[in-house]
């Protein structure tokens, strides 16, 4: 039995189709979703969503964080930003990582509450660079 996967960003519905299994980058570790999964709501960190057909990865998408709702028949990903891995611009990813690290450096010096947010951004950017490589 397949899982109905939907990936939506605020600007549009990015993907909607049935897959056998999908692996999503949940905040506390990657999570494989098969049909019949227990209902969950999770936050996502920056990372890649892998769509599986059998034991083969058919598609990989990079998401920069967001939320996912899992039910026995559905998996809905609310992504802030999602790009197919093949379309990631390596230069842009590197630049984003550099920016995020610079922002984190200033935030961590001040020790403000924004530090965590900045750290999340650094990790998301790192995942993007890794995905592009």
């Amino acid at each position: 039995m397949p899982v109905a996967l939907e990936i939506v960003s605020p600007e549009k519905l990015l993907l909607s189709r049935s897959v056998e299994m999908v692996v999503i980058p949940a905040a506390e570790g990657d999570m494989g979703v098969l049909a019949g999964h227990t209902p969950m709501i999770v936050t996502l960190r920056g990372g890649t969503i892998d769509l599986y057909e059998g034991d083969r990865v058919t598609d990989r998408l990079y998401v920069a964080g967001g939320f996912a709702e899992v039910t026995p028949t559905r998996c809905t990903v609310l992504a802030n930003e999602a790009v197919p891995v093949g379309e990631i611009d390596r230069g842009a990813a590197d630049k984003r990582l550099a920016d995020a690290e610079a922002a984190y450096a200033t935030e961590s010096k001040n020790g403000t509450a924004a530090e965590d947010v900045a750290l999340d951004r650094v990790q998301a950017a790192r995942a993007m660079v890794a995905a592009a490589a």
């Binding site: 939907e6 939506v8 960003s9 605020p10 600007e11 549009k12 519905l13 949940a26 905040a27 506390e28 227990t38 209902p39 969950m40 709501i41 999770v42 936050t43 939320f67 709702e69 039910t71 026995p72 028949t73 559905r74 809905t76 609310l78 802030n80």
Partner: protein, 293 residues
């Protein structure tokens, strides 16, 4: 009776005005289509967000530590009004309606002893409200010169509002915007965003009756989800307003084009009559001159 020359000039000037209004109408029509598509595309995310929020809200609603974005600050003193208007005029009563609704709401709240703060989005609303309510302004945002509104713009507004709430500067927030109903009807809508409106209870979804597991816990998710939910509400209001603006301008320009057409017709009639009167007069002068000889 104006001279023939004056009439001719007048007709020409009305004709060029008509050309401009009919061009503006065409432009508005094509922009309207794009704005509608954009609003359409934003819908799936908003719906799914609402579903998740509904599930979460019911599970933490009674918790004393529920975030302020969801349940408010517990006070009802300072109201923030976010007035969404267009940056350009010539769209009928589009901007005035928002200005008037915001002013009425502000007066009503102040009569009840509340404090009102205004965040004006769009240049026209800012100009309108500045005249009387300038002292309530806490900020203004304009998208003049921007081709299209993206989610980042909405997030910016969301972040500002969240920051104000966190700093204890506001207790409630309401967006006043034009909801796009059809090309001829934009409905002024006042939508409360803080505290978050009670989610629509959808009948048991496809979880098979089981409740959700949360990872991390509900409240951590909520603190991340709520700002996003606020931003998406702002985003939808901005898009609706953009579609409404183009719709309003389209019908305003359609009217203007028609009026110009009527005017041209009337002026041409006057012109022809005056011309004929001149000819008749000249003929009479010639004939009576000839008879007198």
């Amino acid at each position: 009776m104006p001279s023939l020359k004056a009439l001719r000039l007048r007709i020409n000037s009305v004709k060029s005005t008509q050309k401009i209004t009919s061009a503006m109408k065409m432009v508005a029509a094509s922009k309207l289509r794009r704005a509608q598509q954009q609003a359409e595309a934003a819908r799936p995310y908003a719906e799914r967000m609402e579903r998740m929020l509904g599930a979460l809200a019911t599970s933490v609603a009674n918790s004393p530590t529920a975030p302020a974005l969801l349940v408010g600050t517990g006070k009802d003193q300072v109201h923030l009004l976010i007035a969404v208007t267009a940056d350009r005029g010539l769209a009928g009563a589009f901007n005035t309606n928002i200005g008037r609704a915001t002013r009425t709401l502000a007066r009503k709240l102040e009569a009840e002893g509340k404090t009102v703060k205004i965040l004006a989005v769009g240049r026209k609303g800012r100009d309108y409200l500045k005249r009387e309510l300038a002292s309530r302004f806490v900020g203004e945002i304009s998208y003049a010169g921007k081709r299209r509104i993206d989610f980042g713009d909405a997030q910016e507004i969301g972040n500002r509002v969240t920051a104000m709430l966190a700093a204890g500067e506001i207790d409630r927030a309401t967006i006043v915007y034009n909801r796009f109903q059809s090309v001829i009807a934009q409905i002024v809508t006042e939508q409360q965003v803080i505290p978050a409106p009670p989610p629509v209870v959808t009948e048991a979804s496809d979880t098979g009756g089981a409740s959700y597991d949360y990872e991390p816990d509900e409240e951590t998710i909520l603190t991340r989800l709520l700002p996003q939910a606020l931003a998406i509400q702002v985003y939808r209001a901005l898009l609706e307003s953009a579609a409404g603006e183009h719709g309003a301008r389209m019908s305003a320009m359609d009217n203007a084009t028609r009026n110009a057409g009527d005017m041209i017709k009337r002026l041409s009639q006057n012109y022809n009559r005056a011309r004929q009167a001149n000819i008749t007069r000249e003929l009479i002068e010639i004939i009576s001159g000839a008879e007198a000889l």
